[in-house]
Amino acid sequence: MSDHTQHDSHHDIAKHVKVYILVFVALLVGTVVTVGLNYLHFESMRLTIAIALFVAIIKATLVACYFMHLISEKKMIYVILAFTVFFFAGLMGLTLWTYADPPALTTFH
């Protein structure tokens, strides 16, 4: 029985390896896409930033889900990360809030 389990897990890992290679290729493609789009010089800076961050978020998600195994983790890890997401979102929210309620005479660029 234990032999059988061992064999199964080897087979699973071998499947994982294929996924890792696919993710690796996707990350390289993502990098090329980011740099390539940058050479196109969009009119709008906002659009350029949005696209670059969008690609970066996809790449980061791939790394976190597959390389860091977050796609199938134990609940404990998700609980820790839920706190992290909350505080990180709060930090960025506070940063962006400066846009909404600037002191008098402030100019944004």
Binding site: S9, H10, I13, A14, H16, V17, Y20, I21, V23, F24, L27, L28, T31, V32, T34, V35, N38, Y39, H41, M45, T48, I49, A52, L53, V55, A56, K59, A60, V63, A64, Y66, F67, M68, K74, K75, M76, I77, I80, L81, F83, T84, F87, F88, L91, M92, L94, T95, L96, T98, Y99, F108, H109
Partner: protein
């Protein structure tokens, strides 16, 4: 004292302790880098019009370094998978590629740093006429490398031009000799700007082919400000060096741990393979995080 649950899962969490530990640590790391990204955003939106630095980093080199780091990330996870399948030899090979990639990344990064330290921006009191390809243009701001007495000095700033008086210690012995003021220096302006498209660069290279690079003589009296691309150049370079140096320290630390487990720490594979695999996994989680941070740093600092 024996540390509990280094190889077996703790019943209540369902995972070994080190994994909870590394994730708690990574959570704090997210906030550390998050705070610096927040600083970046505030510095950027607060910069007066036209003063935020663009296109002064070498995009091809940065892209290559990104690929190097991504490669190291995949070899880390492949080495872990090899161990899981009991293939110690393959683990050793993959992880040696990881270590080489880490060293490569740091080597390329230090080359980039060195370039910045000897690359200058000069603001002039009055505009001068310079050749820009086939055109002549009036500029009061120049980018390039300085040539002075046959050398390419690093870390110059406006104060350097004034020279320095000698410094003596209490007994009157000269510790540091006087440096005469700089009267004039040569500036080799950048031929090709990093933000130029591939087409523009090809065109500019064709136009400049065979012609010697023309250095411009600049009198110190005409200089309003001079700065290498160091933190004091601008808030952009201040946050650039803060973020990338902190990241490079992480690369160095991560590589050190991976190297220890790979080399002297590999004895554990014989005595406690479960714990050994866990060590590889935990160091790998840290490594992927370092890669993840770079995924954001690269577009934010090099491209946007």
């Amino acid at each position: 004292m024996e540390i509990p649950y280094t190889s077996q899962a703790r019943p209540d969490t369902g995972i070994y302790n080190a994994k909870v530990g590394i994730w708690l640590f990574l959570a704090s790391e997210v906030m550390l880098f998050g705070a610096l990204f927040s600083a970046y955003i505030l510095l950027r939106v607060g910069a007066p019009d036209g003063t935020w630095v663009h296109g002064l980093l070498n995009i091809p080199i940065g892209t290559f370094n990104t690929a190097v780091l991504i490669t190291s990330s995949v070899t880390v996870v492949l080495s872990w998978a090899a161990l899981k399948m009991g293939n110690f030899g393959r683990y050793k090979i993959y992880q040696s590629v990881t270590i080489l990639c880490a060293l490569g990344f740091l080597g390329i990064k230090s080359f980039e740093y060195k370039e910045k330290f000897s690359h200058y921006e000069v603001w002039l009191k009055k505009p001068i006429t310079v050749k820009h390809g086939e055109h002549e243009v009036q500029v009061d701001r120049l980018l390039g490398h300085i040539e002075y007495q046959g050398k390419h000095p690093a870390f110059w700033n406006t104060k350097t031009l004034a020279g320095a008086t000698e410094i003596k210690d209490a007994s009157g012995k000269v510790i540091k000799a006087a440096v005469p003021p700089v009267e004039a220096f040569k500036l080799e302006p950048d031929p090709f700007h990093y933000t130029m498209t591939a087409k523009e660069i090809a065109h500019a290279k064709k136009a400049a082919a065979g012609k010697p690079h023309e250095a411009i003589e600049i009198k110190a009296a005409d200089v309003k400000r001079l700065s290498a691309f160091v933190p004091s150049h601008s808030t952009y370079f201040a946050i650039y060096f803060t973020l990338t140096a902190l990241h490079a320290l992480h690369v160095f630390g991560g590589a050190l741990v991976i190297f220890y487990i790979w080399g002297p720490g590999a004895k554990m594979w014989k005595t406690d393979p479960e714990q050994y695999i866990n060590r590889v996994e935990v160091s790998g989680l840290f490594w992927h995080f370092v890669d993840l941070v770079w995924i954001f740093l690269f577009p934010v600092l090099y491209l946007l």
